[in-house]
Amino acid sequence: MIPLALFVVLGPVAGFLLLAGLPVLRRSGLAAGVVSSAVALATLVAAIVLLVGVEPGAAPVIAQIDWLPHQGEAFARLGVRVDGTSAVMGAVVALIASAVQVYSLGYMASEGRPSIGRYFAWQSLFLFSMQTLVFAPDLLQAFLGWELVGLCSYLLIGFYYQKPSAAKAAVKAFWVTKFADMGLLTGLVLMRWQVGSFAWEAVQPGWTATAIALLVFLGAMGKSAQFPLHVWLPDAMEGPTPVSALLHAATMVAAGVYLVVRTWPLFEASGVALHVVAWVGAITVVVAGLTAMVQDDIKKVLAYSTCSQLGYMVAALGAGSPVAGLFHLTNHAFFKALLFLAAGAAIHAVHSNSIWEMGGLWRSLKGASLLFLVGAAALIGLPGFSGFFSKDFALEALAESHLWGPFALALGGVALTGFYVGRVVVVAFFRRPAKERGRLHTPLVMTVPMTVLAVLAVVGGLLGGPIAGWLGGAYHFHVTPEGLTATVLALGGLGLATWIYGYEGGRRLVVLAAPAGAFIRSGLLDRFYETAWRQGLLVVAHAAGWFDRYVVDGVMNLVAWSVLEGSERTRRIQTGRIPDYVLAVVVAFVVLAAWGAVSGMSGCGSTP
């Protein structure tokens, strides 16, 4: 069991070291890609074998080595922990990563040879970091993986570092997530002193549990792009599409949810934390949904859709059901990755991200369009597709926990999802193209992973039972009132969108809604962050820098200057004229004589 887990975690890092260490391999172009994909696929196989080998409910198997000493023996250890949750998540991550890497062989073929090497090196590093996070035996190692994942996201988003916008996006992503990580780090440190160890199960009821839970959730909000820290996700689309598919759809953004699932005892111990989580999730669903409606760039739409779906998972967790969260996470991973890859194929073919320019892809790019539609169906949650089951399960959990506010928002979200997915599908695939295009073709190496994902997107729903088993919960599909209303709403949204964008009548309505659209598109929050950065931090930094150079340093210089000036001025007492010199001698004599007389008086008569 353990060697398998070790291979799953350490395999990719070996790949990374190979690529980083051997410049010849790195510059060999697609060969590097093949090596890295091979390693990824190997870890996928190992992960599946591992998953199968884990009996539900069995005690977790942990293997650790000492890492940081404290008073003679180690308080911090690194290692792997294999149990239901980690096996599931490990398998999902390995699957998506291999799919994306294989897909990238096609997508990145046109790049320069060294940059391909660089791309796959960072892909392997990402896989390693993610697996470290997933198989982490305690919160500390999770934090290590967590930060490395943030680093890989920074590197991969900034893959096209020549583009200034990509550079800005990469740094923005890093800063926002690092800002949220401050919370996680504080939580970690608080845990060390209050609870004594970083283990997942370590819980100390009372205010510490709530505090740590909230701090961990703050970290999760950053990485999983929850409102108000979601601003970096849309910009992250600057990275290559496979990266968006891997990181910003399936794995990285899901890390936050996974972390909450992992530290579930903490959240369970504090009701307050759960409420906060539920509300944040719900709000994110609606906000992201609304913004997604007005985006023109297909990748931005999918990005906001990811935000929204993450909102669902978080809301499910808030409702007290980690199984729902994890189940929706796995399904979402499949269909969202599929959507991104399909969109990637479309962009690859059309060479533009805007959905208006895509138009009428249905005819010219049959394969990719079909796969995209499958993904879209799963996203909307049409019955039969995986999305339906997990979203329904989440809504059910919300209803049971009687969190009516978040439940209402979630339902609203379903409608919004239906609308924006419908809009994209109609505009991008079924409208008449602006200019005619012949039949386009997507290479086999790209379609194969997409088809695998499509299959999973459909079949995913059936995984509910086994996942629940691994997590120790229970799930069996049954039709629920929430499920039905959700489906109706979804179809309603879809219909509205097709009506508006498909037929003439709808176009007038679009003009009416334009101002609202403009308002949402303007991104109130972005401007808030911009001003916070421009007016807040930079001004404070400017003041500190100025203060240091011209006040603290100024005082130092003033002292030096006054000494110099003083000595320059006292130089003048050296007049060079003899009478003055003699005067000094005589005056000094008088003073000393007087002093002598006085001291003589005081000691008078006291012969020793």
Binding site: A584, V585, G596, S599
Partner: protein, 474 residues
């Protein structure tokens, strides 16, 4: 004959004086350089003798004594004299060849005065020796008769301040004699404490402080150093100060140590003033000689600190400081005499890029400057450190901190010279200054002294401690 054994060293110097006189007469007017070499050899021989002999007790009914203190001070004077003469040989031969015989005569006369002064236990002998040490220096300052009249002006200032101080000193001594009833210094302690006695003490101190160059009697120092010939200033900046301290040691420590509490405060004030004003004078100076003058005043202030605390340790550290000061300060002035000669001006600009044109000379000057600043591995560091320890031990912590801070401030102007030498590039076509053989010998001796005392101070510290302990009878 053995009664005169304690006076061996002054007599030897007298012998050298006679030799110089005779040589000066016999040698043709054009080639008087040999006189200098002869004088140097003679004094060097006396120095060797001083290292060989051990203290040999009193003479003339106790008015003169050759004890450890006298021997230590004599060695300091002789070392200063040897270096002074060596440095002057080339300079004198070039600037005032016809008068160089008299130059050495006057210098040796002053040296003889100092040697006697070191062991004087009688007021009369002390004052005569003090004046014998002092007066020839006025003449030496004026001897070059430099065409621009600067040496005359320097001598004039030195003379007038000196004359006023001598009158004050004599007045003080007369009061001391009156109060104590005898001219034996040892009996001074027994005199009843009266205002008259202490007016006398203070007057004497004021009269002698002029020669040490303490503030406020220091006004002549910068001008005289600037005007007089640099090799002479090398001697002037060390030997008379040591002579001044020798006299004060004999009077205040030898005689009036029991009333230490009464004469301590004025001295502390003067030492603080000297340290502060010395640095203030030196900081803005462009002229290296005036800079070294200022630094000398600051150093003397630090020495007074050790002198004032009145403990055996304080006196010992003063003695060690003087020894270190001989090599360091004279070394610096010898380098300045070479540079002044080379660039015909005493300005700091002459040093520009010296590190590249004459690395050896630059390194020597850097060593002397660092030692003056009190940087470790140099004699100056141990000197300052030991003084700080002694003064700290005598519960004058505030003054030690003041001295330490001023020492750091002093580094500013020492490093300005170092900067000129090492950092600024040499002017085009700059050629290395030519260093005559005797001056080179003097320089090497100074460097060895400065670094030797810096790296291995133990023996010197040991002998200073013994001298002080025996002198104060502890």
């Amino acid at each position: 004959m053995t009664a005169l054994l304690p006076l061996l060293l002054p007599l030897l110097v007298l012998g050298v004086i006679l030799l110089v006189l005779v040589a000066d007469l016999l040698l043709p007017a054009t080639d008087r350089r040999a006189v200098g070499i002869l004088a140097a050899a003679g004094v060097a021989g006396t120095l060797a003798a001083s290292l060989a002999i051990s203290p040999s007790g009193e003479a003339f009914g106790g008015s003169y004594v050759m004890d450890e203190l006298t021997l230590y001070l004599d060695r300091v004077f002789l070392a200063a004299a040897v270096l002074g003469i060596l440095a002057a040989i080339d300079h004198a031969d070039r600037h005032f060849p016809t008068r160089q015989g008299e130059y050495y005569l006057l210098l040796l006369a002053s040296l003889a005065g100092m040697l006697v002064l070191a062991g004087a236990r009688d007021l009369v002998l002390l004052v005569v020796a003090f004046e014998t040490a002092g007066m020839p220096l006025y003449l030496l300052a004026a001897l070059p008769k430099s065409p621009d009249g600067r040496s005359t002006e320097a001598a004039l200032k030195y003379y007038f301040v000196g004359a006023a101080s001598t009158a004050i000193a004599l007045y003080g001594l007369s009061l001391l004699y009156g109060a104590a009833g005898t001219t034996r210094i040892a009996a001074l302690g027994a005199a009843p404490v009266s205002p008259l006695l202490f007016v006398g003490v203070m007057a004497t101190f004021a009269g002698m402080a002029f020669k040490i160059g303490l503030v406020p009697f220091h006004f002549w120092v910068p001008d005289t150093y600037e005007g007089a010939s640099t090799p002479f200033v090398a001697f002037l900046s060390v030997a008379p100060k040591a002579a001044g301290y020798a006299a004060l040691l004999r009077i205040l420590h030898g005689g009036l140590l029991d009333h230490h509490a009464l004469w301590l405060p004025p001295l502390l004030v003067l030492s603080a003033a000297s340290m502060i004003l010395g640095n203030v004078i030196a900081i803005p100076q462009g002229n290296v000689k005036r800079l070294l003058a200022g630094s000398g005043i600051a150093q003397v202030g630090t020495m007074l600190l050790a002198f004032a605390v009145g403990t055996a340790e304080g006196v010992a550290m003063l003695l060690f400081y003087l020894a270190a000061y001989v090599f360091t300060n004279m070394g610096a002035f010898v380098v300045q005499s070479v540079m002044g000669e080379h660039a015909a001006s005493d300005d700091m600009q002459a040093y520009r890029g010296l590190a590249r044109t004459a690395p050896g000379l630059a390194l020597a000057m850097l060593l002397f400057l660092l030692s003056l600043a009190g940087i470790p591995f140099m004699a100056g560091f141990w000197a300052k450190l030991q003084v700080f320890i002694a003064v700290w031990h005598a519960h004058q912590a505030a003054l030690v901190i003041l001295a330490a801070v001023l020492a750091v401030m002093a580094l500013f102007y020492y490093l300005r010279v170092a900067r000129a030498m090492y950092i600024e590039p040499p002017p085009e076509g700059a050629v290395a200054p030519v260093v005559a053989r005797p001056t080179r010998v003097a320089l090497i001796a100074c460097v060895l002294g400065t670094v030797g005392l810096g790296v291995f101070p133990e023996p010197f510290v040991r002998s200073a401690l013994d001298a002080a302990a025996l002198f104060l009878g502890q």
